[in-house]
């Protein structure tokens, strides 16, 4: 626990001692604003909720989360600090978890800084704040899923660009797995149960129920499992390919 929080604190301080943190936060907020107010027709819709705001989150995360995740392990490999970190008396799990939590908290901070949108909608109308809170929780959980995928992809290579592309591709597959575009690939030859399972893996489906204000245990378990699975894969990748 101590080792994990020590790694996490080091990572977090790393974000803020470089421009990465500020660039990311600004881009995050600008994109959130543009999507919500221009593309999402926030004002013209005439209803007071944050649907247009949350609807774009999966698409925003698709690129922004891999951008944060790509350096997690690739940079350690490139600079050789992986050798330093993994010969300290801490387990690979603690290192993986510490780094993941730091990045997740950081994304949480960026997400929290969108609070003016929440204030605006309260100023303009009478939204259901419970639904909005659920939306924030769901959004953060989904970001965790993307992040765990990105962290694992980053452990595969010392090249951040490769890590970025790999994680966008895998995240994209997870995002869309419920849409006909993907299920059509399987229908006709795969058993229905498999297709249902694949569709069940979709981030979109699970996120949309939460963002409608329905916090279903199954959705929470789903995201927790996705995060756990990819972090486990991350640990295994590191154990198997430390040298490369």
């Amino acid at each position: 626990m101590k080792a994990t929080s020590n790694v996490m604190r080091r990572e977090l301080s790393g974000y803020f001692s470089t421009p990465v943190a500020w660039v990311f936060i600004v881009i995050f907020l600008v994109m959130a604003g543009v999507f919500t107010f221009y593309i999402g027709n926030f004002y013209e819709r005439g209803s007071s909720d944050l649907d247009p705001f949350f609807q774009f989150h999966p698409w925003m995360y698709l690129f922004l989360v891999p951008a944060i995740a790509m350096r997690l392990w690739a940079e350690e490999r490139r600079s050789g600090t992986i050798e330093l970190l993994l010969t300290l008396p801490l387990t690979t799990w603690q290192a993986v978890l510490g780094k993941f939590l730091a990045a997740w908290l950081f994304i949480g901070l960026a997400l929290a800084l969108t609070f003016p949108v929440w204030i605006t909608v309260n100023y303009l109308g009478n939204p259901d704040n419970g639904v909005i809170a659920a939306g924030y929780i769901g959004s953060w959980l989904m970001a965790g899923g993307f992040l765990a995928i990105g962290s694992c992809m980053s452990a595969l290579t010392r090249n951040q660009v490769v890590a970025f592309i790999l994680s966008v591709v895998v995240c994209f597959a997870f995002l869309l797995s419920g849409l006909p575009m993907i299920t059509d690939l399987f229908s006709g030859w795969a058993p229905q149960s498999l297709i249902d399972t694949i569709a069940d893996f979709s981030f979109l489906a699970h996120f949309s129920t939460i963002s409608r204000g329905v916090i279903d245990l199954r959705d929470l378990v789903y995201f927790t499992l996705v995060i756990g699975f990819w972090l486990l894969a991350n640990v295994i990748v590191l154990e198997l390919r430390k040298a490369n």
């Binding site: 101590k2 080792a3 020590n6 790694v7 080091r10 301080s13 790393g14 001692s17 470089t18 600079s79 050789g80 600090t81 050798e83 330093l84 993994l86 010969t87 300290l88 008396p89 801490l90 387990t91 430390k242 040298a243």
Partner: protein, 310 residues
């Protein structure tokens, strides 16, 4: 403190087809400062990476203070300090923050982590740069940060991959003093390409090439393998004449003239210095320099590592 030991048993590492370390076996005990020597790509760093628990061996095993480096990796890592090759560090961090991070990872918390970091800063002469980001430091300072990180928790076992690479002569001297001061109750393994360092620092030397152990000896023993060992070199007027006179000596096996220096090699077990000084006096040769050779490490190194390859 009898539990202080390193034991490598047929330690091997393969990278695909390449055999980087080939069945290395050795034991090291308290007070030993072991120098790893060998040409580039010999497998020195790979061996160190395995000993410190970073790379799992392909075959064989190693024990550090009785802890298996794979089965009981955390316990083994706890009693070691390690300077990886190239002294990697988190570049964006200031020196002190980095050392505090390592101290906390080593189990110190709060105030004691700060204290240990400060002590390490003092020992490695880093007090002029504690708040500077590591990536903006010069190469020698970076190396010292790496050393500070390795010795911070006063480990019983120290593994240092090229610790003095990139240091200026003063700092080299200081780091060697530091290592020597610490060595009495520890095990220290260093790898180096600076052969004089082996003599200055180590009480044992291993030469490795192509992943195999070729020589395991004391530095003196190593030097004694040199063909220059016990030879006498002199600088003299009319060297050709002197050379032919000296080659008549029964103790001399061979005389070589190179770059104005005349070197006389002794026969097995013979002492040359006395007979040559006598000859100089008798013949009244105009000698400007005369010395007894201890041996040349670089020549032994070349002989051992290249003799093996061909």
């Amino acid at each position: 403190m009898s539990d202080l030991s390193i034991e490598a048993r047929s330690l091997s590492k393969h990278y695909g087809q390449l055999i980087a370390v080939d069945q290395l076996s050795f034991e090291v005990g308290a007070g030993e400062v072991l120098g790893f020597l060998g040409p580039n790509g010999a497998g020195k760093s790979t061996t160190m990476k395995m000993l410190t628990g970073f790379l799992p061996p392909t075959a064989g095993s190693a024990l550090v203070n009785g802890h298996d480096i794979v089965e009981n990796s955390l316990a083994a890592r706890r009693c070691m300090g390690y300077l990886p090759e190239g002294a990697p560090a988190y570049g964006e961090m200031p020196v002190r923050a980095f050392l505090e991070f390592v101290a906390r990872s080593r189990g110190f918390d709060g105030k004691s982590a700060v204290r240990e970091a400060d002590a390490a800063i003092d020992r490695l002469n880093l007090s002029s740069v504690p708040e500077q980001p590591i990536e903006t430091l010069s190469k020698g300072f970076k190396r010292r940060v790496g050393l500070a990180q390795a010795i911070l928790h006063d480990p019983r076992v120290l593994i240092l991959d090229e610790p003095t690479d990139g240091l200026d002569p003063n700092q080299k001297h200081e780091v060697r003093d530091l290592i020597r001061d610490m060595s009495s109750d520890k095990i220290i393994i260093i790898s180096t390409h600076i052969l004089e360092e082996v003599h200055a620092l180590c009480n044992r030397a291993m030469i490795i090439a192509d992943g195999r152990l070729l020589v395991d000896d004391t530095p003196d023993g190593l030097i004694a393998r040199s063909r220059y060992h016990e030879a006498v070199t002199l600088v003299v007027e009319h060297p050709e004449q002197v050379a032919s006179a000296l080659s008549e000596l029964p103790q001399a096996r061979k005389v070589e003239l190179r770059e104005g220096e005349l070197t006389v090699f002794p026969r097995e077990g013979a002492k040359l210095l006395e007979v040559i000084t006598d000859a100089v006096r008798e013949n009244a040769w105009a000698v400007s320099e005369l010395r007894l050779e201890a041996g040349r490490l670089d020549e032994v190194f070349r002989q051992v590592t290249q003799g093996e390859m061909s």
